[in-house]
């Protein structure tokens, strides 16, 4: 744990060109056929809007009738090379409330490509938003106070 500890990372060489691997992430009919941790866990795509700012929502049917729902937003898309999206597991999952992001990098390698997936915690995104909300609130109050003071004056 000498580096940022909240990271899962995998690299894999694939015998397919970068644009085909990219399509597997970009096309809904492809995604539902592979983006699950095992063949027994089926994926139902509830929402899929593959563009920057677009949202997705996936339902995973885990054996025993349990469902895990993941949602997120596409933050960056570079055709055939890079995709970044947020990854939030919805309640009541034990890991709900932890905001993370996934960075997909696809690099050409001979007749195939190398796929690099980095899943990391989104560092204090919530805390940052809370802070800025706090500041906004404080500034609004200050503005209101100044306005009322001026109104009286």
């Amino acid at each position: 744990m000498s580096h940022e500890p909240a990271v899962a990372e995998i690299r894999r060489r694939l015998r397919a060109p970068p644009d085909r691997v990219f399509s597997a992430f970009a096309q809904v009919e492809m995604i539902s056929r592979w983006l699950t941790p095992s063949p027994e866990i089926k994926l139902t795509v509830l929402e899929f809007d593959f563009r920057v700012g677009g949202a997705y929502r996936f339902a995973y049917h885990i054996t025993g009738g349990q469902v895990m729902i993941v949602n997120g937003t596409y933050r960056s898309i570079e055709p055939a090379s890079k995709i970044v999206f947020t990854w939030n597991i919805e309640a009541p999952d034990e890991h709900a409330g932890l905001h993370s992001q996934v960075i997909i990098a696809i690099m050409p390698d001979g007749d195939g490509c190398e796929l690099h997936i980095r899943h990391e915690r989104l560092a204090q995104s919530g805390a940052v938003e809370r802070h800025s909300e706090g500041w906004r609130g404080a500034l609004d109050q200050l503005a209101a106070l100044l306005c009322s003071t001026w109104a009286v004056a």
């Binding site: 940022e4 909240a6 015998r15 492809m30 095992s38 905001h99 796929l115 915690r121 919530g126």
Partner: protein
């Protein structure tokens, strides 16, 4: 407004190199005082106290007070939970890429 999970707090606390070193120093089950930790890390006492407070709020250390001496002990549970999150994502993507490879070969 977003809700901060206990896990988020753990990862926040672990995001700092000094705090990770402090966790390692406690990993053997020792219960040093704040002063002993300060000498070990050659840091000013207020800095050490601040780090200990963050670790305590994240549930990573437990403080016991013996007179004027505050001793600190590592709590394993949040560390284990953090490891489980990483292991879960690792397993998810390993399994998914396995299936992606098969799909690309098959079609």
């Amino acid at each position: 407004m977003q809700q901060t999970s206990a896990l988020d707090l753990t990862f926040s606390a672990l995001a700092d190199g000094t705090r990770r070193s402090m966790i390692r120093a406690l990993a053997g089950g020792q219960t040093p005082s704040a002063g002993e930790l300060g000498r070990q890390f050659r840091s000013a006492q207020p800095t050490i106290s601040k780090h200990l407070k963050v670790l305590e709020e994240a549930g990573l250390v437990q403080r016991t007070v013996e007179g004027r001496v505050h001793r600190f002990r590592l709590r394993q549970k949040p560390l284990k939970e953090a490891e489980q999150w990483i292991a879960r994502q690792q397993a998810f993507w390993t399994g998914a890429v396995e299936q992606l490879d098969r799909l690309l070969q098959g079609s």
